[in-house]
Symmetry: C2
Subunit: 354 residues, 2 copies
């Protein structure tokens, strides 16, 4: 394996000194880039793009050719695990992801087996190793998974939901059924993420996109508990380096202390939290990733610059901050504004690392 | 006017002693009730129901006939104010509210005039006075409005939105334009709510459904600032009694201190906050309304009972709590479960008021 040339991202997550605040963007390989759209058109549909290791590698590298980013993230979908469990993932235009066979009964859940990451999910592992090789040590590669709760919402509802009617009914009426599902998912995610590390991922992130839909009690019982199980089961070292783990619950700003208690290395923040407040609350224990509202990228480069300045000043001096958006970049963002954003972080952050 | 027989709701909001925790449900006049659906079918469409004072009164009173509730809330829509400004509100099945003439330019915003509540919004005032009369003093009547930010999201986007692309672009690129709109809306809401009080409303609530989509800074600049202006401009007394004002920002659990600083009487809480934590943070200054996840009503009466118990225990002893859901009741809830919920609050809350 090539020696890692830029390890700012890994160092900041472990609170080691850096020369400037590292930056990457959630969904940086995405529809705002014309080159992404071209490759996706070549692949046909979204899952074909995920399943073709060369095209998945190509779209992973595209934003790194345009911008001076400090990390690459595996191009894949959070729903690969339930798909590998046999639910039949498909995408309907304008409708988001759907499953042909939702698992909303105890019988369906009992029948689910834990996917072998090198078999049913082998295409993801081939993408990871291809990307790692093609990165040639330029920046670290982030592997990821959805959280058990977030995966379960799609599996039980059959797709996206606004009110989470079915899964919340299950949570309150048949908690044992839901716990069985979540436990199988946690076991699956542990194998899946550890296989990503074995194939070359150098850091891991768990996306809990829908944890924020839960009550403070239910979050601990149905989401955080299974992220804890995953954190406890992960390979935390590879190639003689630590593999940092970041947890991100969208809408979880009230629960940062409980999230930090899991022993993860970093927390992702959405834009509702002041990052300086978050640092005062949990900054002794974890690094923080975030947290600009992606909608700021609709504004002028000057306005973006101001917002970057405010976030850096709020975090303050020293390491432990990975700059990012508070959610994935929107598809209608001008790629030049994304470039201006990245440059602002580079330029302005140096003064906070002396 | 008839003497108020049950003033538990008003007393709890003002932190005066009560014999049990008062309860009402957001959207208690709604589609989960068959009698509501019958009246709505009679009216034709949703806005015709709002605009007919007798039918609006009828649906307001329906839940009070079924359940032992401690407050009635005016049946209306949050978008009556922009509609009265000439935007042309209409509802498309499955699409939510839309405006024929969105106001997404400075010219359109400059042309907006502030509606006369007794003229363009006279139908709301007639509904308020009809309901107040027909309540015969049984329970207090709550008047309400959307917050300026929440109204502006629909006006600029032209309807519901997930990413608030247009209005956030305006917020970051043309803040002066958005401030002009928000200021006109705040002035309109002050007149509108004061007219509701003049016509019989005994308490007021401001629904900031989309404040939680903003960053912590932008929330203060674009939402809270205008709720502050409204709180400062409201009639706070009528009929020799105080008219309590409740602010509710969905997803605003991180910002309770700033909300309490407005000088309102109470804060609405969604279910992501622990109500005991909220009381420790701001309970000296404001009463608290909430905060059960409406999805708990999908569960059995036994499970609902447990959840009520947990929330009451978390708030603890004494006044200052108005029980409610953390959001409007869902349309697929069994009305008998709503009844079991209300009975549980009655039964369990007495021990906290000795």
């Amino acid at each position: 394996m090539a020696e890692l040339k830029n390890d700012r991202y890994l160092r900041a997550l472990l609170k080691q000194p850096v020369d400037r605040t590292p930056i990457w963007m959630m969904r940086q390989a995405g529809r705002y880039l014309p080159e992404y759209k071209a490759t996706r058109a070549e692949a046909g549909d979204f899952m074909s793009l995920c399943k073709n290791q060369d095209l998945a590698c190509e779209v992973t590298l595209q934003p790194l050719r345009r911008y001076d980013l400090d990390a690459a993230i595996l191009f894949s979908d959070i729903l690969t695990v339930p798909d590998a469990m046999g639910l039949g993932l498909y995408f309907e235009t304008g409708e988001g992801p759907r499953f042909e066979r939702p698992t909303d009964t105890i019988d369906a859940i009992k029948k689910l087996s834990i996917p072998d990451p090198e078999d049913e999910l082998g295409y993801v592992m081939r993408a990871v190793s291809t990307i790692r090789r093609e990165l040639k040590g330029e920046v670290p590669l982030i592997g990821f998974s959805g959280s058990p709760w977030t995966l379960a919402t799609y599996m039980v509802e059959g797709g996206s939901s606004k009110t989470f009617e079915k899964i919340k009914k299950m949570a309150y009426e048949e908690p044992a059924t839901l716990h069985l599902l979540l436990d199988k998912l946690a076991d699956s995610v542990i194998l899946y993420l550890n296989a990503q590390v074995a194939n070359g991922a150098q850091a891991l992130m768990i996306f809990d996109s829908w944890g924020g839909a839960l009550s403070h009690h239910a979050y601990r019982e149905f989401s955080l508990r299974y992220m804890q199980k995953i954190v406890d089961g992960l390979t935390r070292h590879a190639d003689g380096r630590q593999v940092p783990v970041t947890l991100f619950t969208k809408g979880g700003g009230l629960w940062l202390e409980a999230m930090a208690d899991t022993g993860c290395d970093a927390l992702g923040l959405d834009w509702t939290v002041d990052i300086g407040d978050a640092r005062r609350r949990v900054g002794e224990r974890v690094a923080l990733q975030g947290n600009m509202d992606p909608s700021v990228l609709y504004a002028s480069p000057e306005r973006i610059h101001q917002e970057v300045e405010q976030i850096l000043a709020s975090y303050g001096e020293g390491t432990g901050h990975v700059f990012n958006l508070g959610h994935g970049i929107h598809q209608h963002v001008n790629p030049e504004h994304a470039g201006a954003f990245i440059n602002s972080v580079h330029e302005l952050s140096k003064q906070y690392h002396k």
